[in-house]
């Protein structure tokens, strides 16, 4: 066993209001510079929808992530993972032209407005306008897409209909999903998953990408990166971006300069819905690759089997032997992420079938489930409880595609637990529910009253320090110091500073 610590995350989707505050705070600090205008290290998507970049979940198109050699069934013994985007040899031909790399048109062409025209326009009969100009060419342009172009379904069913996760849903289920004005949707904020089995790292021809040993943050060494773009193609979440100006690739750095100075990453700190949790997970690095070779339906369980119980004395001992400090182990024991992922099993990885073992977990949204269509009317479900799962407006199949690699049982157990917590608390506050059925729900949801209180407390009432439990990642202990993000805004690189310029 090779016990490593990972700074892991949980996003509670029930609480996300889709306000994009996280995206903006990230953009302002990290990607507000030439060549990075189109990058959104943090973005928020509407589901169902096609996301950013367009159709990023379509791996038939982008060929990201891992595939299992062989037929993909069995217990994973003797099976090997290989990159979907390249092998060691054709990687060399792909240096010259990478057929799987998304282009600017798959994201959007960044633009600004000619604000000066508003002041400089000569007096006339018409209101002066500020036309859009491209931030790539500086020429006037027609805006065709943006980073959240399908936000709130964008007034059309085009984007929702093309959601890759709808595959396998019946027409009836789809129609129910897209009914105008009664459409059901939720928001999906995405940052880099800082995977435990990162395909981007494996794909980099120069070896510029690496996972930090202490906290598991995946970074690109800007001085080693040669701009071969293999990582952009290999990351199934499309969370690596090619800076067209500097010729280097960039990605979310989990604000490590902030973490190292005891601060909370930008997108976490600015989250108004308080949906985000940050904490340490311990995992067994030796078994990662093997665990990701099992068949799709077993992947979620397989990932959980790698994560270690921080109270287990044996784990603690091995962690210490591996150089993990007492503070880290302490943080791992208090970790809200551990509670959501392992203790309550409420948080699930996004698209674990890409087999990169993401370390960002989502608590699936319950809200759209809590109603049904009855004679064309939208009704709150007040009785029958779990029967509503089958006729929920957001089909379990759809959520399972996203969060459990198609395994609906896992999604249903999460949903049942979430609903049980809700009804349990309602019965306590309002006393308008039948206690027998509540206790039946609790049983089916595998929930004790104490656990329900705990979940309720961490979901609805957490303070900043409940949500973000981090060890002191002392900066003075790190070998390479970094400059202050505030001072280096608009420049490239982190442990050094260079202006965003191409070549010499």
């Amino acid at each position: 066993m090779d016990i490593r610590a990972q700074v892991a995350m949980v996003f509670h989707l029930d609480k996300c209001i889709g306000c994009h505050t996280c995206s903006v705070s990230c953009k302002n600090v990290w990607t507000d510079r030439p060549g990075a205008e189109y990058m959104w290290w943090n973005n928020v998507e509407t589901k169902p929808g096609t996301g950013y970049p367009t159709l990023w979940e379509d791996q038939g198109h982008y060929k990201g992530g891992w595939k299992v050699n062989g037929n993909g069934s069995g217990n994973g013994n003797g099976k090997k993972l290989s990159l979907r985007s390249q092998n060691k040899l054709d990687a060399f031909i792909k240096l010259f032209y990478n057929p799987n790399q998304p282009g600017l048109e798959d994201y959007y062409e960044p633009w600004t407005y000619k604000y000066q025209d508003l002041f400089d326009a000569p007096a006339g009969d018409d209101q002066p306008t500020a036309i859009a100009i491209s931030q790539v060419t500086g020429e006037p342009m027609a805006i065709e897409a943006g980073p959240n172009w399908d936000d709130d379904l964008s007034g059309t069913t085009l984007y929702a209909e093309n959601d890759v996760n709808l595959e396998g849903l019946s027409d009836e289920e789809r129609d129910q999903l897209f009914e105008i004005q009664r459409v059901s949707m939720f928001y999906l904020p995405r940052i880099c998953n800082h995977c435990a089995n990162p395909s981007c790292v494996a794909s980099c021809p120069s070896g510029a990408l690496y996972k930090r040993g202490e906290d598991g943050i995946v970074l690109i060494n800007q001085e080693v990166c040669k701009g071969w773009r293999a990582c952009v193609a290999a990351c199934p979440y499309k969370k690596i971006y090619y800076n067209w100006k500097t010729g280097k690739s960039e990605k979310c750095i989990l604000c490590y300069p902030k973490l190292e100075t005891g601060q909370i990453p930008n997108c976490f700190h600015s989250c108004v819905g308080r949906i985000r949790y940050l904490g340490v997970l311990l995992y067994d690095a030796d078994r990662v690759a093997d665990a990701m070779t099992v068949n799709d339906r077993a992947l979620v369980e397989s990932q959980r089997s790698i994560l270690c119980d921080p109270y287990d004395p044996k784990v603690v001992e091995l962690a210490k032997a591996n150089g993990i400090s007492d503070e880290f182990i302490d943080a791992a024991q208090k970790s809200p992420v551990y509670k959501y992922v392992m203790k309550w099993k409420l948080a699930l990885p996004l698209h674990i079938e890409y087999r990169t073992m993401p370390m960002l977990f989502y608590v699936p949204p319950l809200l759209p489930v809590m109603g049904k269509l009855d004679n064309g009317r939208y009704e709150n479900i007040m009785d029958g409880f779990f029967t509503s799962l089958e006729q929920s407006r957001l089909p379990m199949k759809y959520l399972a595609k996203m969060f459990s690699a198609g395994n609906e049982e896992i999604i249903e157990s999460v949903m049942k637990k979430l609903m049980a917590v809700r009804y349990y608390k309602r019965s306590l506050e309002l006393d308008d529910l039948d206690l027998v059925s509540i206790s039946r729900m609790m049983r089916e949801g595998n929930l004790t009253p104490e656990e329900a209180e705990e979940i309720y407390a961490l979901t609805a009432l957490p303070t900043t320090y409940d949500r973000y439990v981090l060890p002191p990642i002392q900066r003075e202990e790190a070998i390479s110091g970094t400059c202050s993000p505030e001072l280096c805004k608009g420049e490239c690189g982190l442990s050094f500073s260079e202006s965003a310029k191409r070549g010499l």
Binding site: T54, L55, Y62, P99, A145, T157, L158, N162, R174
Partner: protein, 246 residues
């Protein structure tokens, strides 16, 4: 030395018939060492026509001959005197002609006589030169087949006498060849073969065309582009273009 020169020129003036008919050492030497690049009164080859040297002073001619040693190899005092004598002789051209008629087949001490067949093999590289020089076909053409780096050698035997050719093949004191063959000299025997081959071209010229490498090249390029087109036939278009309404 001056008296020696004087004597030589006097002898050649006084007894031209003797010089031409008998062992004209100067002319023989010229044919062997110099004729590859120079003529006397028959126009410029690689080097200039040396007819005008007869009006130079003996000392100038001698120093010029000495300078040429770096091309033609070391000469003995006696050989230098002979050559200077020939060059100073106003009838040098005639003596040369007489000499080449007298010695229609070049004499080689020892070894086999030249064979056109072997010459051809040496020319086109099927047989390599003993000292590792490049085959002639690398730069020269015969009958339109070969490289145009150097001149076409199809009619070279008509332009130069056999002795001159032999000398040219051996000395290789030409522009590009000088450096290229400095470390890889052509042996006398090989030169003989080559001369035979060049002479044989007079009677039965070759007309083999250069293989159409350009056409092969264009065909290969087309093939390669087709392979690329085939290999990437289903490359990604824009993902946005895949969006469609049901």
């Amino acid at each position: 030395m001056a008296s020696c020169l004087f004597w030589l020129s006097w002898v050649s003036l006084a007894f031209p018939a003797l010089a031409a008919g008998g062992a004209d050492e100067g002319a023989a030497l010229f044919a062997q060492k110099c004729a590859g690049c120079h003529t006397i009164g028959r126009g410029a080859l690689v080097g200039p026509d040396l007819a005008k040297v007869s009006s130079w002073s003996a000392a100038d001619a001698e120093s010029a001959v000495k300078r040429m040693q770096k091309m033609a190899g070391p000469l003995t005092e006696n050989e230098i005197d002979n050559l200077v004598g020939l060059l100073k002789d106003t009838k040098g051209g005639d003596r040369l002609k007489a000499q080449s008629e007298a010695a229609a087949t070049p004499e080689v001490t020892g070894g086999e006589a030249g064979s056109a067949q072997t010459g051809r093999r040496l020319f086109d590289g099927r047989q390599s030169f003993a000292n590792g020089g490049m085959a002639c076909i690398a730069c020269h053409t015969v009958g339109g087949s070969g490289s145009s780096m150097g001149p076409d050698l199809s009619g070279v035997a008509a332009k130069m006498g056999e002795t001159s050719l032999l000398s040219a093949c051996e000395q290789t004191a030409f522009k590009v060849m000088k450096a290229a063959y400095a470390q890889h000299p052509v042996t006398k025997q090989e030169a003989l073969h080559l001369v035979k081959y060049f002479v044989s071209l007079k009677d039965n010229p070759e007309t083999a065309a250069t293989p159409p490498v350009t056409i092969y090249g264009v065909a290969g390029a087309t093939l390669l582009m087709l392979v690329i087109a085939w290999g990437y036939r289903d490359r990604n278009g824009s993902a946005r273009s895949k969006l469609h309404r049901r």
